[in-house]
C-alpha cells in the first residue's frame, strides 16, 4: 500500500536553513532529488539523478583506505592516494561513507517522510514569524515527485507555514492546477525563450514550459508567482534572448517582478564530487555591465528586477 499524507516518502538530498534567495523572509529550503533537465551550468548537479549516489571529495581524503575495505561490491580502488569508483558496481549503499572519518565520502540522497521534513522545517518557525519566511521546495525539479511534493505542501499548509516551490516548468501540464492550489508562491525559472536553444541547453520543451507558466499565472496571479531568469553568460544574456523573455512574459500576462540570478562557477566542486567533473562547463564570469544592460533592457520593457546576490 502506498503511504499517504504525512507518511508519504520521497528522496531528498539536502535541507538548507537560513536560505536568503528562495522566496520572502528567512526560509528553509528542501531539495528534492531528480530533474528532467540537463543544464550544463547546473548549480546542483547532484540533484539531477533520481537515485541516491555516492560523492567523493579528494581534498578531504587522507587516503586511509577504510572505504575501499568497507565496500562489499568492490567498486572502490585506491590509485595515487585517491579513491576511484566504478559506477557500474556502486549501488550507493553507504558503507564507504560510514567508514570515512574525514567526510570525504558521502552519500547524496536519502528517503524521508513528509512528517520528518515538516518537523525539521518547523524547528525554525520563530525565524519565519519574525521575517515573513517559510519553507521552499526546490530540487532538482520538485514536480518529478508529485505525490511527495503535494503531500509536503499540504502538510506545510496544515501547520501554517508559508510555502514556495521552485520549478523549471518542465512538468506534465496536468499537475499545474494542484500545484497552484497547494503552493503559496511559485518561483518559476525561465531559462531561455527560444524553443531550439532551450532544448539544446537544457533539454526542456518550451511549449510545455510556457503552457505551465500561462496556467500558473492565471491561477496564482502576480502575487503568487515570481518569474526568475538565471543569467548564464553567453547562453541567455544576449539582447535577443532577454527581449524574448520579456515578450514571453508579456504575452502570458505577467508584468510582475523579475528575479535575476547571476551565474557563478561555485558548483564546479560539486560536479567533481559526484564524478562528473568532465561534464561541467564553466561559462566564465558574468560582467557587471552585462547585468546592468539586462536590468535596463527589462526596465524599458516595463519590468522591475531584483538581483539575487
Amino acid at each position: 500500500m502506498k503511504d499517504c499524507g504525512a507518511e508519504t516518502k520521497g528522496l531528498i538530498f539536502d535541507i538548507q536553513r537560513y536560505a536568503l534567495y528562495d522566496g520572502p523572509g528567512i526560509r528553509t529550503t528542501v531539495f528534492l532529488k531528480g530533474c528532467p533537465l540537463k543544464c550544463s551550468w547546473c548549480h546542483n548537479p547532484e540533484s539531477q539523478s533520481a537515485r541516491a549516489e555516492a560523492s567523493y571529495f579528494g581534498e578531504k581524503c587522507v587516503a586511509c583506505g577504510a572505504c575501499v575495505k568497507a565496500c562489499a561490491a568492490g567498486a572502490l580502488a585506491m590509485k595515487k592516494r585517491a579513491v576511484v569508483r566504478d559506477p557500474r558496481k556502486c549501488s550507493a549503499c553507504g558503507a564507504c561513507a560510514a567508514a570515512c572519518e574525514t567526510g570525504a565520502m558521502e552519500i547524496i540522497g536519502r528517503v524521508a517522510t513528509v512528517a520528518e521534513i515538516a518537523d525539521a522545517v518547523e524547528a525554525d518557525r520563530p525565524f519565519y514569524e519574525e521575517s515573513g519566511g517559510g519553507a521552499t521546495v526546490s530540487g532538482g525539479e520538485p514536480t518529478t515527485q508529485p505525490d511527495f511534493l503535494f503531500a509536503l505542501l499540504e502538510e506545510f499548509r496544515k501547520r501554517g507555514i508559508h510555502s514556495a516551490v521552485e520549478t523549471c516548468g518542465a512538468f506534465n501540464n496536468s499537475l499545474a492546477s494542484r500545484l497552484a492550489e497547494l503552493a503559496d508562491l511559485i518561483l518559476f525559472d525561465i531559462k531561455h525563450p527560444d524553443p531550439g536553444m532551450l532544448k539544446e541547453l537544457t533539454g526542456a520543451n518550451l511549449e510545455v514550459v510556457e503552457r505551465n507558466f500561462s496556467n500558473l499565472i492565471q491561477l496564482k496571479g502576480e502575487s503568487g508567482l515570481i518569474a526568475r531568469v538565471p543569467l548564464i553568460p553567453g547562453a541567455n544574456t544576449d539582447e535577443s534572448a532577454i527581449e524574448g523573455v520579456a515578450e514571453m512574459l508579456i504575452r502570458n500576462g505577467y508584468r510582475g517582478l523579475i528575479h535575476l540570478m547571476p551565474y557563478n562557477s561555485m558548483a564546479a566542486t560539486k560536479w567533481l564530487k559526484i564524478g562528473r567533473g568532465g561534464e561541467y562547463r564553466n561559462f566564465g564570469a558574468l560582467e557587471e555591465d552585462v547585468i546592468s544592460r539586462i536590468v535596463n533592457q527589462l526596465g524599458e520593457a516595463g519590468f522591475k528586477t531584483f538581483i539575487n546576490r
Binding site: 523572509g25 528567512i26 519566511g133 564546479a268 566542486t269 538581483i307
Partner: protein, 858 residues
C-alpha cells in the same frame, strides 16, 4: 583641510600603532619606586603611599606630545609604549626572566628540575611512563617558553632601551621581589590550602612567568587583579578636576573629626587629585613647549594642531569642557591619568555617543564643527584607546593573543537613563568612525525593540562590509539580568560594556574581579573520581571523591557527581577571590581610581573596600559550555542509553587520544544532535548545567559584600587550556582548542538558525556578560536591503528567543586563507552566493580562491 589629507593622517597614526614595536616604558616604574623607597619607613596609610607614588610619577615623567595628533598626550614617555604596573606586579617576573636570555635559560632548567622532582615525589615509575605515553599521542605540543627574549620574539615583541633594561633588571625589579600585590595574593591564596600539596608543586614547576591569573586548582583560577570598570568620565568632564578637588577639600573639612579610616581615604584622595591636576597642567606646558619648538620649523599644519591643542588643554580637563574637542581632550587626558595609575585594569570608555552628545550638539548649533570633522577626531580617539590595550605578556601565551586585545569596548545606542531611545547622530558617526579607523577595538551596539530601524540597518551594513569589531547586545535580556543582580532601572538603562563583554554602570560598578572555572576539567574530575589528567600529568585528589566511573548507575548520578565537583570549585574560587580582595584593600588601595567613581566621597571608602558599590566577582565559564554539554550528551546517549561502551572504556579512549579506538570515536563523532543544532535534548543539558552554576554562585559573597556572577566568555583561555587538556568525551582531540565562549563546537551543516537557537536556550537573564560569535562570509548577509533585512530578522529572532549578545565575525580574505590552511578549525564559515550556499571548507581550492577574492573586493 581636504579629506584625503585627513585620511592620510589617520592612516599614519594607525600604522604607527600597528607596526611600531612598543617600548617598555620604565619611567612610571622608576618614579613609583623612588617614592616608595622614600615612604618605606613612614607611618602613612597604604592609600596615601599609592597616591604619593603616583603623584611623583605625574610630577616627573616625560610627557609625550606629537605634532601630528589632534588629541594631545600619551600615557607613557613613548608614543607607542606600555608602562609597568610594578607595584601590582602582574608582569614583573615576565620582565625579569624574559628580557634576559640567560635568565630565560636558567628558568627553563629550573622548571624542568622542579618538574622532575614533582614527578619523582608523586608518581610511581609506571605512572610516569603512562604520562609519557599519553603525551606522545598528542598532535600538538604543550605551550613552551621558547628561547627568544621579549624583544626578539616573533609574536608581540616589545623593545626596551639598554640602559632602561639594566636599571629595571638590576635596581627596580629586585626591590619589588616579594612585595608586589601579585606575590602577596599568591602567598595568601596558597595559605588557604585549597588543593593538595602535590598540585602546588605541579604549578611551581610550570614555566609560567606572568601573574595575571593565580591558579588555585586544575579546574579553577582567579584573576590576580581586580579591574574591569568604567570611570565616571562624564562628571569629571563636565565639572573639571579643579572643582572636583574642591569637593575633596570640602569633604575633608566636614569630616575633620571623623574616623581615622575615612580621614586616611580623604588624604589619599586629595593627594591623588593633586597628582591628576599636575599631570593636566604639565600636559598643557608640554604642548606649549612643542608649539614653541614648531614655531621655527615650517610645518603649518602641525603648528595649527598644536595651537588648537593648546587652547583645548588650557580648559580640559581642569575646567568644564565647553566644546566637542575639549570634551574629547578631557576624556583622553583623564583616561591617561587613570590608565597610568592602574595599567592593564580595563577602564572602558563607556557610552561615548551619550557622553559627548551635549558638546557635539552645542558645536553643531553654533556651526563650529561638522560631522566629518567630529568623525575624524573620533577615529584618532579610537586608535588611541586601542593602543592602551596591550600587555607585556609571557612568550608562553604570546602566540595565543593578539597585540591589541580590544577589551575596552565603546558602547553605542540603547536607552537613556529615563528609558527613551538614546540613539543619536553621534551613534552613527561613531559607527562610521569604527569602520574607517579600522581600530581593533570593540564597539557594542545596544539594541532594543524601540531602536530605530536605521540603527539595525547601519549595523548590518557594517557587518556586510567585513567589519567584525561590532557586536550587538539585546537590551531587554540585559535589563532582566541587571534587575536580578540588584541594579536600579535607571542604572540598568544606562549600562555599558567593559572588559570584553561585561555589563557595568559607569562610575558605579567598582572594580570587578574575574575568576574562571574550567568546566571540562571539572567533568574530568567527576569521570576520574577526583583525580584529573592534563597534558603535563595526573593530579591526584584535586577534586572530590565522587565515585569510580563504572559505579554510576544512571546519567543522573554522573551529573550529580559533576555538579558536586563544580560546587567544590566554586567554593574555592569564592574563598580565593576574598583572600585576593583583602590583599588589595590592605596593601594596594586605588585612590586614583576611586576619585572617578560615584559614592566613594560620600562613603569615604576606597574602591577596594567597596566604596563604590558591592562589586562583582565575575566567574567565567570556560572550556567550555559547548564541550561539556556535548561530552555529557555523548555519555548520556552512548553509555547510558544505547550502552555501546562503558564509561571506563570511553575514558581509556580519551587517554589514548582516541588512537586505536576507532569504533568509540566513530560512534562519538557520528552522534547527531549535539549542542548548536537546535536539538532540545542537548539544549536542555546546556541549560541545566549553566542553571546549576548560576544557582551555586549566588550562595557566595565577595570581600566587598557583592556577589559572584556568571560570565560566559573565554577570551583566549579556550585555546590555552585546550593545549593543556587531553581528549574529551565529545570527540575533541588532545591539545585542540575548546569552543570559545558561548559558541557551539559540533555544529552540523545546519546553518546559523540552529546555532542561535541552541545558544538562546541558556537562561541569559542570569548572565551579566557573554560572547556569542558566528562566523560567516559577507555573502551570508548580502549586499541588498532585502537580504540585509533577513539578516536583521535573524538577529531579532535570536534576541526574542533570549539571546543576549552576538558578534558576527565576517570572514575577511585573511581569515579565509587561514581556513584554507586549517580547515578543521574553520568548519563553520557559511558562504552564500546567489542561490548557492555552502560551507567554505567544503569547497574546492579554486572556488575557495574565488571567494577569497570576493572578500577582498567587498
Amino acid at each position: 583641510m581636504s579629506r584625503p589629507h585627513c585620511e592620510d593622517r589617520i592612516a599614519r597614526i594607525r600604522e604607527r600603532y600597528r607596526t611600531e614595536t612598543p617600548f617598555i616604558s620604565i619611567q612610571r616604574a622608576r618614579l613609583y619606586t623612588e617614592s616608595r623607597r622614600e615612604t618605606d619607613r613612614e607611618k602613612i596609610s597604604a592609600g596615601s603611599r599609592v597616591a604619593l607614588a603616583m603623584k611623583n610619577v605625574f610630577e616627573k615623567m616625560d610627557i609625550h606630545v606629537d605634532a601630528a595628533d589632534r588629541i594631545a598626550g600619551a600615557w607613557t614617555e613613548n608614543y607607542v609604549g606600555i608602562p609597568i604596573d610594578i607595584e601590582r606586579g602582574l608582569f614583573n617576573q615576565t620582565l625579569e626572566v624574559e628580557l634576559d636570555a640567560a635568565a630565560m635559560a636558567k628558568r627553563k632548567v629550573e622548571s624542568a628540575l622542579k618538574f622532575a622532582r614533582f614527578l619523582a615525589r608523586n608518581y610511581s615509575i609506571s605512572d610516569m611512563v603512562g604520562v609519557a605515553v599519553s603525551t606522545a599521542k598528542f598532535d600538538v605540543p604543550p605551550p613552551s617558553l621558547g628561547s627568544s627574549t621579549m624583544d626578539r620574539r616573533r609574536v608581540n615583541p616589545y623593545r626596551i632601551r639598554s640602559a632602561d633594561r639594566r636599571e629595571l633588571l638590576e635596581d627596580i625589579l629586585p626591590y619589588w621581589r616579594g612585595k608586589t600585590a601579585a606575590d602577596i595574593v599568591r602567598r595568601d591564596v596558597a595559605a588557604l590550602r585549597l588543593c593538595p600539596d602535590s598540585f602546588s608543586e605541579f604549578i611551581e614547576a610550570l614555566p609560567a612567568t606572568a601573574r595575571e591569573v593565580t591558579i588555585i586548582s586544575p579546574a579553577a583560577a582567579i584573576g590576580t587583579w581586580q579591574g574591569h570598570l568604567i570611570l565616571d568620565y562624564e562628571t569629571a568632564m563636565s565639572r573639571g578636576l579643579l572643582a572636583m578637588r574642591e569637593d575633596v577639600e570640602d569633604r575633608m573639612r566636614r569630616a575633620a573629626n571623623g574616623p581615622a579610616k575615612a580621614a586616611d581615604f580623604l588624604t589619599a584622595a586629595k593627594t591623588a587629585i593633586d597628582g591628576a591636576v599636575t599631570f593636566a597642567e604639565r600636559l598643557y606646558a608640554a604642548v606649549e613647549a612643542a608649539l614653541n619648538r614648531a614655531g621655527a620649523s615650517g610645518d603649518a599644519r602641525g603648528r595649527a594642531f598644536l595651537s588648537q591643542s593648546l587652547a583645548d588643554c588650557r580648559v580640559a580637563p581642569l575646567h568644564p569642557a565647553r566644546s566637542f574637542r575639549q570634551a574629547v581632550q578631557s576624556f583622553w587626558t583623564l583616561k591617561n591619568i587613570s590608565d597610568l595609575a592602574m595599567p592593564f585594569n580595563v577602564h572602558a570608555p563607556g557610552r561615548l555617543d551619550q557622553i559627548f552628545l551635549p558638546y557635539f550638539k552645542r558645536d553643531v548649533e553654533r556651526g563650529e564643527i561638522s560631522g566629518d570633522e567630529a568623525r575624524e577626531i573620533l577615529e584618532e580617539l579610537f586608535l588611541k584607546v586601542m593602543s592602551h590595550n596591550m600587555r607585556p605578556g609571557s612568550s608562553l601565551t604570546a602566540e595565543f593573543t593578539q597585540r591589541y586585545e580590544g577589551s575596552e569596548p565603546v558602547t553605542l545606542g540603547g536607552l537613556t537613563r529615563s528609558g527613551e531611545d538614546a540613539t543619536n547622530e553621534l551613534t552613527y558617526i561613531m559607527l562610521e568612525a569604527a569602520e574607517r579607523s579600522k581600530a581593533s577595538l570593540n564597539f557594542v551596539v545596544r539594541l532594543h525593540p524601540r531602536s530605530p530601524e536605521k540603527l539595525y540597518r547601519e549595523t548590518a551594513k557594517i557587518h556586510s562590509r567585513c567589519v567584525s569589531s561590532v557586536s550587538m547586545m539585546n537590551d531587554e535580556i540585559c535589563f532582566a539580568a541587571m534587575a536580578k543582580s540588584g541594579f536600579s532601572e535607571e542604572d540598568a538603562n544606562d549600562y555599558a560594556i567593559t572588559g570584553c563583554v561585561d555589563m557595568a554602570v559607569a562610575g558605579r560598578t567598582g572594580g570587578e574581579g574575574f575568576s574562571s572555572i574550567l568546566l571540562c576539567r571539572a567533568l574530568d574530575m567527576a569521570l576520574r573520581n577526583g583525580d584529573t589528567k592534563t597534558a603535563a600529568g595526573i593530579v591526584k585528589g584535586a577534586g572530590l571523591r565522587t565515585g569510580a566511573p563504572d559505579s554510576f548507575k544512571s546519567f543522573e548520578q554522573l551529573l550529580e557527581a559533576f555538579f558536586a565537583q563544580l560546587d567544590n570549585e566554586i567554593a574555592k574560587i569564592a574563598a580565593a577571590a576574598r583572600a585576593r580582595d583583602a590583599v588589595y584593600a590592605r596593601i594596594l588601595p586605588a585612590p586614583n581610581i576611586s576619585l572617578f567613581l560615584k559614592g566613594t566621597l560620600d562613603s569615604m571608602k576606597d574602591m577596594t573596600e567597596g566604596g563604590a558599590d558591592g562589586g562583582v566577582e565575575g566567574v567565567l565559564l570556560m572550556s567550555s559550555v559547548a564541550n561539556v554539554t556535548d561530552s555529557l550528551f555523548t555519555i548520556k546517549k552512548l553509555v547510558f542509553e544505547r550502552r555501546l561502551f562503558s564509561l571506563s572504556r570511553l575514558i581509556r579512549a580519551m587517554d589514548d587520544n582516541f588512537k586505536g579506538h576507532r569504533r568509540v570515536r566513530t560512534a562519538v563523532l557520528s552522534l547527531p544532535g549535539k549542542w548548536g543544532n537546535g536539538n532540545p535534548e542537548s539544549d536542555d543539558i546546556a541549560r541545566s548545567v549553566t542553571n546549576h552554576i548560576f544557582g551555586e554562585l549566588k550562595k557566595h559573597k565577595t570581600y566587598k559584600g557583592g556577589f559572584l556572577a556568571p560570565f560566559i566568555n573565554s577570551m583566549t583561555a579556550h585555546t590555552i587550556d585546550g593545549r593543556m587538556s587531553l581528549a574529551t568525551p565529545d570527540g575533541r582531540r588532545a591539545g585542540m582548542p575548546f569552543a570559545a565562549s558561548c559558541n557551539p563546537y559540533n555544529v552540523e551543516k545546519n546553518g546559523p538558525t540552529g546555532v542561535l537557537k541552541s545558544i538562546a536556550a541558556i537562561d541569559f537573564t542570569e548572565v551579566l556578560g557573554c560572547a556569542a560569535n558566528i562566523r560567516l562570509h559577507p555573502s551570508a548577509i548580502g549586499g541588498s536591503d532585502e537580504t540585509r533585512d533577513k539578516w536583521i530578522s535573524l538577529i531579532k529572532t535570536y534576541f526574542r528567543l533570549g539571546g543576549e549578545q552576538l558578534q558576527p565575525t565576517v570572514a575577511s580574505a585573511e581569515m579565509l586563507r587561514r581556513a584554507q590552511k586549517n580547515p578543521g578549525a574553520h568548519k563553520d564559515i557559511i558562504v552564500k552566493v546567489g542561490g548557492y550556499s555552502a560551507y567554505f571548507t567544503e569547497l574546492g581550492r579554486e572556488i575557495q580562491n574565488e571567494i577569497i577574492s570576493r572578500s577582498e573586493h567587498s
